[in-house]
């Protein structure tokens, strides 16, 4: 418990330091305009990372989220010509289905999550390309579609915040959440205790798929079109955010609040590198990598020292 709180605060502490340093160094950093832009842009990763947190707590991993995100975005744009309902239901149904198939392969057929979701990553991306004629077609959201209303910054942020509140309650306050911790902590024990291990695992991949899909829909709503080239590498950012947030990849421990701090931290680091402005793209990558190392080492040491 206490270790969990400390771990969550690890990311928050680093975040606070960066915000102060950034605010003092750049006059254009802590402006409401800039912060709200950052918040809106971070919502997509935040929603994806929420699902990733649940999966990782259950002892798994989901590499397919980036592709599912992109596929759902394309489907939302495609479906938007038939109204808001189709624009929402079509992508969410497909994302949930992807999660369901992956979950079934992992839970019932006992395949390694890493490989199953890697296949999911390939498959969803392939499907997306098939639907868009090898990426040559981009579906547009009609100007008058209600989906565009959903894409306003404020709406996106509210959606993400609601998602995190619900995720927090789900993980900390429900039997399902306890089962996730149990399955992630000791799967054999959970099974011997009579917990529905397979059902829990399937559900968590469905949830992750749904959340990735939702993020994709939100992105399409914001961009006004089903862009095909988005979401590449999103899974790695989500994993990084989750881990920086103090969730163990070994499963059985973690919190969504930490993940939110992790997402914010990644966004702020990127923005600070941009504000410095001196680096070319290669040097930016070097700096991000180095900062990432420093952050995870700090975070790990902090959580270990106080445990």
């Amino acid at each position: 418990m206490i270790a969990g709180i400390v771990r969550r605060h690890g990311a928050l502490a680093v975040l606070a330091v960066l915000l102060v340093v950034g605010g003092l160094s750049f006059s254009t950093f802590l402006t409401p305009y800039n912060l709200s832009n950052l918040a809106v842009q971070a919502t997509f990763l935040a929603v994806v990372a929420l699902g990733m947190t649940l999966v990782i707590v259950s002892g798994g991993i989901d590499l397919s989220v980036g592709s599912t995100f992109a596929l759902a975005g394309v489907l939302a744009a495609y479906g938007s010509r038939w109204g808001l309902l189709v624009a929402l239901l079509l992508p969410l149904a497909v994302s949930a289905l992807i999660g369901l198939v992956q979950g079934a392969l992992i839970a019932r057929w006992r395949m390694a999550p890493f490989i199953v979701t890697l296949c999911g990553l390939l498959f969803a991306r392939g499907l997306l390309q098939l639907l868009t004629k090898e990426g040559s077609t981009t579906y547009l959201v009609p100007q008058d579609s209600a989906l565009r209303w959903l894409g306003q910054g404020a709406v996106l942020v509210v959606l993400a915040v609601l998602g995190y509140l619900a995720g927090g309650v789900l993980l900390q306050r429900t039997g399902f959440g306890m089962r996730l911790f149990a399955v992630g902590g000791n799967e054999d024990a959970a099974s011997l205790m009579g917990l529905p291990v397979a059902r829990t695992k399937v559900s968590v991949y469905v949830l992750s798929g749904l959340l990735a899909g939702l993020a994709g829909v939100m992105s399409t709503a914001q961009l006004g079109s089903g862009v095909t080239v988005v979401g590449v590498g999103l899974e790695l950012n989500a994993i990084a955010a989750v881990v920086i947030g103090g969730t163990m990849l070994t499963g059985g421990a973690g919190a969504v609040s930490g993940t939110l701090a992790g997402v914010a931290l990644l966004a702020v680091i990127q923005e600070l590198i941009n504000q410095v402005g001196r680096f070319n793209s290669s040097m930016q990558a070097v700096v991000s990598g180095a900062v990432l190392i420093v952050v995870v080492v700090l975070q790990t040491l902090l959580s270990r020292a106080r445990r």
Partner: protein, 317 residues
């Protein structure tokens, strides 16, 4: 191999491989030609070499996402030192790869950072570093020795394939016949028990990541020699995923505690043949990806653990 161990779990990948070859014999023109076999082997060399190191890392229940970037760093360094001759330049690349591996290894062992994130940081930063070293430029290789390494052959066997074969034998011996190899699988099988048994757990982990970096750098050199150019922006892109897939399809579980070297070779060959088959039949990229997903999943499904309770790894700390 003992008879009672001959089961699908160990041999799913070979079965898949045989099936794919049979299918190709029927549908692909010029499949069983020496040229084609050479091409497939040559093309799979970088992935295979990376996968050998990856298999060791996965054997300890770790993972190394940085291999592609390490390949890029090696590729970027190579042309800078070719002035001193091919061998010294290659030596420098290998040292750099080992150093990168040592860095991930230290993060994992001493700082206690989880492998996937430690090496993710290096994946991001490493390629950037490679591009900084190369100033973002692709450089043509003109050193004849290196070009010979890329395109030469002895007795019809391409040199790069020969090098890879030697590495396979060395890694197989390392895993199967040495103290280190046995300690490695023990660390992956139950790290706490390995500590209780007095094994040098940290040293094993450090060396494993070091070897992975070393092999990745070697793969970077081989890829550069074959390409006749140092291309840090694209060499080894996404190779980590191909390598992990080859390792897992080859029967090494991601939960550690077991390393299948020959299986890894078969896994890499399977991946290569899938890609080649789809290209030769001009399958569009979308369908290619979907088919790859299905074939990989089926191959892994063939060798999944039996039903019943799985003895799960213990918690690391």
């Amino acid at each position: 191999m003992r008879l009672d161990r001959l089961n699908l779990r160990d041999h799913g990948v070979y079965l898949a491989l045989v099936l794919l070859v049979l299918v190709n014999l029927v549908i692909t023109p010029n499949f069983l030609t020496a040229d084609n076999i050479r091409t497939q082997l040559v093309q799979m060399v970088p992935v295979l070499v990376v996968a050998l190191g990856m298999a060791l890392v996965i054997g300890t229940e770790g993972i190394d996402l940085s291999v592609g970037s390490v390949m890029a760093i090696a590729a970027a360094l190579l042309p800078l030192y070719l002035g001193y001759g091919a061998l010294p330049a290659i030596g420098i690349c290998l040292v750099a790869g080992a150093a990168a591996g040592l860095l991930s290894g230290s993060l994992v062992t001493f700082a206690g950072v989880q492998p996937i994130v430690a090496t993710l940081a290096l994946l991001v930063g490493g390629r950037g570093l490679a591009l900084v070293i190369a100033d973002g430029q692709l450089k043509q290789i003109r050193n004849q020795q290196l070009l010979d390494l890329g395109s030469g052959s002895v007795l019809g066997v391409p040199l790069t394939v020969f090098v890879a074969a030697v590495l396979v034998v060395l890694v197989a011996l390392l895993v199967g016949k040495t103290t280190f190899g046995r300690q490695l699988v023990a660390v992956g099988g139950n790290r706490k028990a390995a500590e209780f048994a007095g094994l040098p757990v940290r040293r094993v982990l450090l060396v494993v990541y070091l070897l992975s970096g070393l092999l990745a750098a070697g793969a970077g050199v081989l890829a550069t020699a074959r390409l006749t150019a140092s291309d840090p922006s694209s060499v080894g892109l996404l190779v980590e995923l191909s390598a992990i897939t080859a390792v897992v399809v080859g029967g090494t579980p991601l939960t550690g505690g077991r390393v299948r070297v020959i299986g890894t070779v078969a896994g890499a060959l399977l991946m290569q043949l899938i890609a080649a088959t789809l290209i030769k039949h001009d399958v569009p990229a979308s369908v290619t990806q979907m088919l790859e997903a299905v074939i990989i999943a089926s191959a892994v499904l063939l060798q999944r653990e039996g039903t019943g309770l799985r003895l799960r790894r213990q918690e690391a700390r």
